[in-house]
Amino acid sequence: MLIDYAEGMLTSEQREEADRLLALSPELREELEIIRSAFSGLQETVQDTVPEFYFSTFLPRLRQQIDSGKEFSGWSIPYFVESVFRPVVALSIVFVMFTAYQAFHPETLQSPVYALINDCAQEEISDVVNGVVAFPTVESENLFETTLDLESFGIDLFQTQSESELTALLGEQGLEQVMQNLENSSID
């Protein structure tokens, strides 16, 4: 309202009301004084000038830039690219971090079989699966049993481990044994 008052934009009724409020409030009067000094200062400024023929030569110069196919700096990216650029970069960073984390902590995202594999050397696992030796730890035995008890735990082994990966880890014989155990739904 003070701005409108200073610019003379109020109706006579509004102006009377503003006058009444101003008479009551020294703070309002001080604010009004500041606003008036701002407008006064703005009016004192030197009018900017442009070189002669600037506007008349603007379009030809612009056309020259466009037609020459000049390489423009970074801002020449189209709008739609700009709008998706930052989210894509952000998602890429998250993806790289996620992948790196996964590479260093594979057990957190892999099946229990993989966790078991991590607990033991590959050859030991093959031997374990083939019944040559006992499980190295109680924990690994529990994990193995858990993995195979699909109906109880709803675990789909092949969502997280491809057959070739399992073959590489367990050996063909080991995998066959696992499959057989899966069919029986029991390790025994």
Partner: protein, 182 residues
């Protein structure tokens, strides 16, 4: 709203008619130059940015959907590019002390009255430059362009009430700055 002929010009341009784009440039070059120049006082820099605004418009017109008027759309580009330049200049200024020296040197031969006015102009520019981005945009569009609040609201995609508050604070800050600089 868009002028009907502007929508036609945009459609013609998108269909390959370069003359339609030229018409738009001729129509808005001065307005865009002055909105940029209020924010970037140096003519050469303002010229560069004004050209960039129209080049950006040239490259992006195919994505113009006509939700806002053409000049609302191109004003927004002008303001954003100008603010980007101001930010870049602020960073450059942090690393350079030469700029201020050159400004004072160029004033040597001016009459006293003009010198005072130029000094006042410089203070106003500094005061505007110190405003937060939102207040700066509102102030420039309202004071220099004399646009109605509802039009500014379309350009800046904000409410009229908020704009009025921003304008009030911007003017007040300029007043306070000038008072302290006197």
């Amino acid at each position: 709203m868009n002028h009907p002929d502007e929508l036609q010009l945009i459609e013609d341009f998108n269909n390959g008619n370069e003359q339609a784009y030229n018409q738009l440039v001729l129509r808005y070059k001065e307005k865009i130059y002055w909105i940029v120049r209020r924010m970037i006082p140096d003519h050469d820099e303002a010229d560069d940015i004004t050209q960039n605004v129209f080049i950006k418009a040239y490259q992006s017109l195919s994505s113009f959907k006509g939700d806002s008027s053409f000049y609302t759309w191109i004003y927004r580009i002008a303001i954003n590019l100008s603010l980007n330049e101001i930010r870049r200049k602020k960073i450059r200024r942090t690393f350079s002390i030469d700029e201020g020296i050159h400004q004072f040197e160029s004033h040597d031969a001016l009459p006293l009255e003009l010198l005072e006015k130029k000094e006042r102009t410089k203070q106003i520019q500094e005061a505007i430059e110190r405003l937060p981005d939102k207040q700066k945009k509102v102030f420039l569009l309202r004071y220099y362009e004399e646009l109605p609040y509802d039009e500014i609201a379309k350009i800046l995609k904000t409410s009229v009430g908020g704009l009025k508050a921003n304008y009030f604070h911007a003017v007040k800050k300029i007043g306070v700055y000038l008072k302290h600089e006197k």
